[in-house]
Amino acid sequence: MKKKPTISQFGDHGILLRYPEKIDHKIHKALTQYTHFLCNSFSEIIDGFTIAYHESAFYLKPDVSVDIAIELFVRKFNEANLLEEFKESSTLYIVPVCYEAPFALDIDEIAQSKNISVSKIIKIHTKPIYPVYFIGFLPGFPYLGGMSKKISHPRKASPRVKVSSGSVGIAGTQTGIYSSESPGGWNIIGRSPLNFFNTEIKNPSLFKAGDHIRFESIDYATYKNIEEEVKSGSYSIQKKTYK
């Protein structure tokens, strides 16, 4: 992705970086790199930022002029040849999920409608390495790319009032993890015992844009063991550097 994103104003204190509207791994990778690059270069004038699929937003400190910041950003872009000097490595996390009762509320329904077995759904869901596109919807909720269309399933017609924290769901061709208890319309196929959002630590969200995850099927007994370890603070998630 040689092309640079466009830069425009977004409200009194916001600046938007923008690529053409598309869910595309290459576009997202370039967007994430440019976003992190600008955040690092201008951390003293930036209060926060948001990344999504093809756009990211910077929110400037209240007394900073948007016009001047845009000028700074453009100048920085022109002097940088990012993809050469700015190589970010990614972390691959292994996320344990129990695809059994009482957690897998909708897995039978998907199996029936797709006419495949539950074990096949688990096999398909645990196979890919999913890129974390961004965190949104709920604090710590990862938007994941790359789920197989073989197990896609439309959102529930009426959302559940309460979906438990850790629930793993499917909505259309997307898959994700409820990082806290919330109402929600995704089809629930399992639950992870991990804590995906913890305000006690510096970076409360377990994942960030640009990470990767793979799901690993565990049985109910293992779920309970890990749940205890998470509670006592002795659990550490399996992770490795991903090219």
Binding site: S8, Q9, F10, G11, D12, H13, G14, L16, R18, E21, K22, I23, D47, G48, F49, T50, I51, A52, Y53, H54, E55, S56, A57, Y59, F134, I135, G136, F137, L138, P139, G140, F141, Y143, S179, S180, S182, F197, T199, N203, P204, S205, K208, A209
Partner: protein
């Protein structure tokens, strides 16, 4: 210390919000009317902005164990301190063992109670703002104890009074920027969007304000993209939603407009229901 005798309809602690965790999906939160929040702090001569209580429709009743100073800003409520009516937007001395009753609102929507030194309730991610996802108990409750920083009033001239800007509480002309998806609309749709006289729908809350009397226009869903407080979304079914302080950080509806800070503060205080006009004005 202060004790909550009656919590009111929906009273929360608010400040400037959580600005630095948006990429982790954390809503900004903070006072709906940031202007009134800052004003409360200025009137108490705070050097740094400190948390206040925000209330709506019906405010809380509070018992003060020790003497202090307070100030009320934002929407105007029927307020009595030890049975006596007290003034708005002016620091007030509160003797020890006092009861403050904040009754029904009569102008605006969100009122603020600042206390000398500021509330020192628990901070989560560098902010005291209550948000239901981050706090299991995200509003004041009966019997709750609120602590604040003990300090001396700097200026003896505590008769300073600010005349509130009344016009922003009724007719609201909201200054807006074109949103990132403004150009998904045709010229005719843009005109309809900007020429319409809206009202604030009663279903509005701290997450979003629904506009009533919407023109018959709609916009397609988009691939999920960044949103912020003040983003105006137009849905495929023609709803017009202004995201407010507790909103999510990303969204999938077309972002047709973006309110200025000033417009967002004004809109939060705009009278609810039919009969009040609000229009968008492109800057």
């Amino acid at each position: 210390m202060i004790e909550v005798i009656h919590p009111g309809i929906h009273s929360t602690i608010q400040d400037a919000g959580r600005l630095s965790y948006r990429e982790q999906g954390v809503p900004v939160s903070g006072a709906m009317d940031q202007h009134a929040y800052i004003l409360a702090n200025h009137l108490l001569q705070h050097e740094e902005l400190a948390p206040v209580i925000e209330f709506t429709i019906n405010g809380p009743t509070l018992y003060f164990y020790a003497e202090t100073f307070i100030v009320l800003t934002g929407a105007e409520f029927h307020c009595k301190l030890n049975g006596k009516i007290i003034s708005h937007a002016s620091p007030i001395y509160v003797p020890a063992e006092s009861t403050l009753e904040i009754g029904h609102v009569f102008k605006g929507n969100y009122g603020y109670l600042g206390i000398l030194g500021g509330f020192s309730t628990e901070k989560i991610l560098n902010s005291s703002s209550f948000h239901p996802i981050l706090l299991p108990q995200a509003k004041l409750f009966k019997g709750m104890h609120l602590v604040y920083v003990k300090t001396k009033f700097k200026d003896t001239n505590f008769n300073a009074r600010v005349i509130p800007v009344h016009d922003k509480f009724c007719r609201t002309k909201m200054d807006v920027y074109p949103g990132p998806d403004f150009n998904l609309l045709s010229k005719e749709q843009k005109e309809k969007l900007l020429n319409q006289k809206y009202f604030v729908d009663p279903s509005s809350n701290r997450m979003a304000i629904q506009m009533g009397n919407t023109p018959e226009i709609s916009a397609p869903e988009i691939i999920t993209a960044p949103v912020q407080p003040g983003t105006v979304q137009l849905t495929p079914s023609g709803q017009l939603i202004v995201l407010m302080r507790d909103a999510q950080t990303t969204g999938g509806y077309s972002r047709v407009l973006q309110l200025t800070d000033y417009a967002m503060n004004s809109l939060s205080q705009c009278e609810i229901g039919e009969g009040y006009e609000a229009t968008f004005h492109l800057i």
